[in-house]
Amino acid sequence: MRDIEIGRRGRLYSHTIARFAPKGFNAPYFQAFIDLDEGPRIFSLIGAECPVEDGVLDDGMEMQLVIEPLADTPENKEILSYKYVPAKAHGDA
């Protein structure tokens, strides 16, 4: 057994805008699946820098990891989570 590091980069597999949020989240918000470069497909939220509007994300686009509070709510603002945002050309997560 050895640890390996995965998840810095991937591609957007699918996404939608949830217009209704469970407790601890603010609607509307993006929900997405990301195909990581290393193989697994994971569920993820999208980083707060992305405006929640149609046309901002395209399935298949390159994505990169960000770490930020799970949601800007009393329940979740102290919890750090992985999220993804569209990859920057020379950016580094």
Binding site: Y13, T16, R19, P22, Q31, F33
Partner: protein
Amino acid sequence: MRDVAIIGVGAHATGQFAGKELKDIAYPAVWNAIDDAGVRPADIEVAYVGNSLGGLLTGQEGVRGQVLLQHSGITGIPIVNVENACASAATALRGAWLEVASGAADVALALGAEKMFIGDSARTIGALSGVSELDLSRMGMQFTTSYAIHPKINLKSRMAEYGWTIEDFAKPAVKNSANGALNPLAQHRRQLTIEQVVQSRVVVDPLTLYMCSSISDGAAAAVVCSLDAAKKFTAKQPIRIAACTLRSGVYRLPDDERLDTAATTAQAAYEQAGIGPEDLDAIELHDAMAPAELMLYERLGLCGPGDGPKLIDEGVTTLNGRLPVNPSGGLCSRGHPVGATGLLQIAELVWQMRGEAGERQIEKRPKVTLAQNQGGLLLGQDSAVYCCTILKS
């Protein structure tokens, strides 16, 4: 293994019952099934009780089956609690079936009961999120989202891949609402139009409110016994359980080409019953979100990829079509009290097969039917639980 028959079914109406506790909803289902079967409570040797959310929503975390059945007057016998998310009731039926098929018992009871309406939708939806793997629900993933973009259904990508439209997604809701309108047990008894479904508010793009099943209370029960002993209890036609298959989701990487588990569960049921999809006369299936019915047509082998909407356009799956699907109204109209749904499906099929379905009776009384029930959500791109039951008269 012995042949096993369902000799009695019963249900409590589905809806939101502010003044009723879980046991008040379970009791009529149990007694209607006992009366229908012609058995005495003392004849029941073992019971399996399905419930999913009662721990979180009522606080009765343990022994719910023993509590529910004690208040129905059934005590002392072995009682097994079954939690398998939205497939709890079908899993309970499987337990009762195996008890009798194996010869361990001659008469067994399966009950599914759920109390979702507690006057606090956020708490109910929170509890429902708890039947997804926590790694998903903690990040705000909901069942609606899973149907919209989760790889197992991915309705958004079907729009691109198959050319399906938002109107296509509305078609199962409209078809099933016509059936539900005829069902006195149904939660929603209003015939919907395509326009009403499409124009209801968006919950998670592309799903609108009337494409989603709603918060619901309800219960259903079935009494099973060995086929040979059926005549001893009732003059009614025994309904044989020809297959009952249960599978769990598998972990899939994106390039996994294995068949979807809803499909493999159905194939296993067809094999066990010695039939194919072309032999079916009626189906109750798990349309927790209406457009899932279109995908399930494919998974059950009823049509080729992308052809789901055609089955509705051509009237194949309407109440008096060649293969009626969801004659009860399905999960969106009849209702989806999650831990009761699998047995509500079974009760509907038994009534249809006996010709007891009233205004919604399928004219050509079905002889071979299938119930498909599933539940929960795993990280590995599958639902957690899949069940298929085939009944023959």
